[in-house]
């Protein structure tokens, strides 16, 4: 490698920031790498927080992305429990809260996102929790005992995964969703209807079209009041109403921001030596000809690899179609692509069998797939999305054709 050893600072030790550090070392970077995290733990996986970890099936250490010994062995300076206070792009420094100032040749912003709060009366009552960090989940888990009443605001993946776990723990769960269907931001109506039915069958109360007016309680949340006056009693409330990008440091440093820190296809911000990756990045979505923020493991890993490749002047990995999964009860939902803008939906298989998928098409091309307990549909669908392949809708719906054959037919030039 030709470059002289330099110094890279990574702000944020979530999956994206950690991946950037790992990829830099794997790619042969010889300079100093500092990985700065504001949580006390070393980099860990977040997906299990609303799944197995919430259920109590995993010890904390099993969430760690690498053993603690990895960091010194690979000369990655891991500073945990430390937050960045200011980026000075001209002086090429980052100041930490508490005073320390770090110099960098390249900076990677991986500050993630934070749960959105609600501006309703009572929103700051104790007992209203969120689910983003290990500390959040430890608090939540301590309140999930049989017979407790949990009100979840928001029926996205976080809300529904938590609902599934809590109901399996014997908690009485009510989910409030402002939209007319669950999962409205992330999935089509067939998937939404299926999951709403699954949850209701498991005893979860789901209120769609629910307008939350206030939280009630004296010194501790006791209920959620809906428009019209109905009060859903609660011992504990979990907010799962989306996240906001942590882009304030970048904005204050004068970096171009939209709904996140704007980056190019190499994850480079408006400053040539500053990158932004993970949940905070407003990035080109190459399969869709637009830009957006993605909140997923795929996006975190890919961003880390892309930023590292760009810094090292190496060939970047080919962009993957966005992918995601959600575990609820005995169901594994696997998603590839983004369904927004679909003009046709094809259901493959029978939802009643708890094994089916929905393909989302736009201009006859597959733009996304949601597969429930159906890995072939997901895996072939992911390839179709990546290739922006046109597929005959009749083929997708025909379960006498295997996904392998459908894929071969659509992907053979």
């Amino acid at each position: 490698m030709s470059q002289t050893p330099g110094r890279i600072v990574i702000i944020g030790a979530g999956q994206a920031g950690a991946q950037a550090a790992y990829s830099l070392r794997q790619g042969g970077y010889r300079g100093a790498v500092t990985l700065l995290g504001d949580e006390p733990q070393p980099p860990y996986q977040r997906p299990p927080l609303s799944k197995g970890y919430l259920k109590g099936e995993l010890e904390t250490e099993r969430l760690f992305l690498k053993p603690l010994s990895y960091y010194p062995e690979h000369e990655i300076e891991l500073l945990t429990g430390r937050a960045a206070a200011e980026i000075d792009p001209a002086a090429r420094t980052v100041s930490l809260q508490g005073g320390l100032r770090l110099a960098w040749d390249q900076l990677i912003i991986a500050t993630g996102a934070r749960p959105r709060r609600l501006a309703v009366p009572g929103a700051s009552l104790p007992g209203i929790l969120e689910l983003r960090t290990l500390a959040d989940v430890d608090r939540l888990r301590a309140s999930l005992f049989p017979g407790a009443r949990l009100v979840i605001v928001g029926a996205g993946y976080i809300g529904l995964e938590a609902a599934a776990v809590a109901s399996q723990l014997g908690v009485k769960v009510s989910v409030l969703e402002a939209m007319p269907q669950v999962l409205s931001r992330v999935a089509g109506p067939e998937i939404a209807a299926f999951y709403a039915d699954v949850h209701r069958a498991a005893g979860v109360e789901i209120h769609t079209g629910a307008r939350l007016e206030a939280f009630e309680g004296e010194g501790q949340v006791a209920g959620a009041r809906l428009e019209g006056g109905e009060v859903i009693p609660a011992d504990i409330v979990l907010l799962g109403v989306g996240v906001l990008p942590n882009m304030e440091l970048a904005e204050a440093a004068g970096l171009a921001c939209g709904n996140g820190v704007r980056v190019d296809s190499q994850m480079r911000t408006s400053h040539p030596d500053v990158y932004a990756i993970g949940d905070v990045a407003w990035r080109p979505l190459v399969h869709y000809g637009r830009e957006g923020r993605l909140e997923s493991v795929h996006n975190a890993i890919e961003g880390g690899k892309l930023a590292s490749a760009s810094i090292l002047g190496q060939t970047p990995p080919a962009p993957e179609a966005p992918w995601f999964w959600s575990d609820q009860f005995d169901l594994k939902l696997q998603t590839a692509g983004l369904w927004t803008g679909a003009d046709m939906r094809i259901v493959r298989g029978e939802p009643a069998t708890r094994r089916f998928s929905v393909f989302y098409l736009k201009d006859s091309k597959v733009i996304a797939v949601d597969a429930v307990n159906a890995p072939p549909d997901y895996l072939v669908g992911k390839k179709l999305v990546a290739a922006q392949a046109a597929v005959a809708p009749g083929d997708l719906a025909d379960t006498s054709l295997s996904m392998k054959d459908i894929g071969a037919r659509a992907l053979t030039p």
Partner: protein, 106 residues
């Protein structure tokens, strides 16, 4: 504490101590064994922890579940002894288990 040996595509061997109940994938991550990506962290959602199980251990390790098998059906360079290492739980009787990692997980 059963010992597990990971062999990479070039034939280099690394033997580490596994822990009963942990998976072969987690053990690899814990010991920074190259060649296993495990992007999804063990949720059987990404097929990037593919390994080949040594013939002598195939029966003991057992058959993949339907979910795992259908993930494997679409992985690259799959053979008869392919498994997803996140789905193999370590047991005492797997002492000495040998698995080989493929050239690439993608």
């Amino acid at each position: 504490m059963p010992k597990i040996t990971y062999i990479d595509a070039s034939g280099a061997e690394r033997t580490v101590e596994g822990k009963t109940g942990m998976t072969v994938m987690e053990t690899a991550i814990k010991h920074t064994i190259p060649g296993i990506d495990a992007d999804c962290g063990g949720a059987c959602a990404c097929a990037t922890c593919h390994v080949y199980v040594d013939a002598a251990f195939l029966d003991k390790v057992g058959k993949p579940s339907a979910m795992e098998q259908s993930m494997l059906d679409f992985a690259e360079n799959v053979k008869g002894n392919s498994r997803l290492s996140c789905q193999i739980k370590i047991r005492d009787d797997l002492e000495g288990l040998r698995v080989t990692t493929p050239e690439s997980q993608h």
